[in-house]
Symmetry: C2
Subunit: 284 residues, 2 copies
């Protein structure tokens, strides 16, 4: 992605997990303010280290409409700091409703550079997002293989030729993403895929099915995947994927090699470790 390494930091703020010094709120307004301070500080710390961040809108929505305002404020701040922003919104619906979501989350002034989208509705649910992505040089990542334990029950549903449902989705993504004005100079489409790192053998197979898709790879760190697992999502030349880590960076002061450090130092160190770890795995 750039000299800072193919990674992004997930912005998943939860008040109860903030550094104790920020957990002094008496009201819900104070809690929102504490999360605001925490997130802005995290963005400032990680901006020199990583190329991108991925705010998870669910945590902001749980703070009410003021939380949604904060989400968009942080998107704008991150962009001002030179970060690419992937809005983890996982929206998905039919045509005219999808168009409203695309307007809300991708087209507007303070919108992210890319968003995650749920592909259950098929091509006509993706079309409004792709239209904005093409027009504005933005991107979308469609959920293909998720990193949670019970995903397999749904996504491993197997067809008559042994192909799995997530491979079927991958083929649709590859086909739709190969459309006009979608593939850029580097050979990648504005239509990418979310491929969990917890299933590296499947990531390799999906890499073959989707040669033009950038993979957004969750599951590293707190969710259990190693850097070597994540490496399976990349092409042989080390491009084509971006690995996300959220809690293992944000809350590095609590757990792991930087536990007990000042929280800001822990965030900085964990972000640097993330970059180094993925780079090392790709160099092997």
């Amino acid at each position: 992605m750039d000299a800072r390494g193919p990674v992004c930091v997930g912005i998943d703020p939860v008040y109860e997990e903030l550094p104790p010094e920020l957990q002094t709120a008496a009201t819900s307004k104070d809690r929102l303010a504490a999360i605001d301070v925490f997130c802005r500080e995290v963005l400032r710390i990680v901006a020199p280290v990583v190329p991108a961040v991925k705010p998870q809108i669910a945590f902001f929505e749980s703070l009410g409409y003021q939380g949604v305002k904060l989400y968009f404020d942080l998107v704008a701040q991150a962009q001002q700091l030179g970060l690419l922003v992937i809005g983890d919104v996982k929206r998905g619906d039919i045509g005219h409703t999808a168009a409203a979501y695309a307007a809300a989350h991708l087209a507007g002034q303070d919108c992210p550079d890319a968003v995650t989208v749920n592909g259950y509705f098929g091509a006509d649910g993706l079309a409004p997002f792709l239209q904005v992505a093409r027009q504005q040089g933005k991107g979308i990542f469609v959920l293909v293989r998720t990193s949670n334990p019970s995903a397999a029950v749904i996504q491993d549903f197997t067809g008559p030729d042994g192909a799995k449902f997530y491979e079927h989705i991958a083929r649709q993504v590859a086909a739709v993403g190969d459309g006009p004005e979608m593939v850029g100079a580097a050979g990648y489409s504005c239509l990418g895929a979310v491929v969990g790192a917890t299933y590296p053998q499947e990531a390799r197979r999906l890499r073959e099915i989707m040669p033009r898709q950038i993979f957004l790879v969750p599951g590293y760190g707190a969710q259990g995947a190693s850097a070597a697992d994540c490496a399976a999502a990349f092409k042989a030349d080390g491009t084509g994927a971006i690995v996300n880590a959220s809690r293992s960076v944000l809350y590095a002061f609590r757990k792991g090699p930087h536990a007990g450090k000042d929280w800001k130092q822990a965030v900085a160190s964990a972000a640097k470790d993330l970059v180094a770890d993925i780079r090392q795995a790709l160099a092997r």
Copy 2:
């Protein structure tokens, strides 16, 4: 559902489709105010006629965070008017993120009585929503079969025994929804299903697979399904489903048998027609 008939009115506000007398906004704040007036009036008009409404959050999100505030304000107003509210949010994510969505959209003070959820993550993505539903006597509707043209490419993916992917999802919904403290006195689970009315033969099959699920049925009216198509989603005793109509009621002054009427009269007449039409189809 009650004496008013098993239907709900979708609240899908789009400024450009409002009655001309309300399209006088000069600023985005004025547009929001016009939508506010329109939606509140619609709620007052339909409350004596239908038992439920289904606000589609995408249209509110496209108005920015103030739109999200309006969404929750309207949910509260609808509940004060005695309406059940189904929040059409189609959220879906893994465990801790799903918990944040459940807190945001189902657990809070001004939250709807039920929400729609995307089931692509499997049981551990549903669990946080179900926990709130059980605790608070609320409900969730998981997307099983959607009513849009390109849904078939994804949802009709066929397994070795001829079973389709949406039937696989339906079986998961039936299994999860049969869990402890989920099935109420009337024999229905708090875990329901979204089943599009545009595929009646499939609705009949899904009715067999999911005997304890209430079906939320989109697709009537503007999307092309008839009342007879919708009837396929009900049990033989006429219970078990709720049919949604959005644009054909909201914008009845523009198109259809009430075109040209005063917009409020058109909404009232279209809502009454919806109830009568579904009742007639069920009586056959």
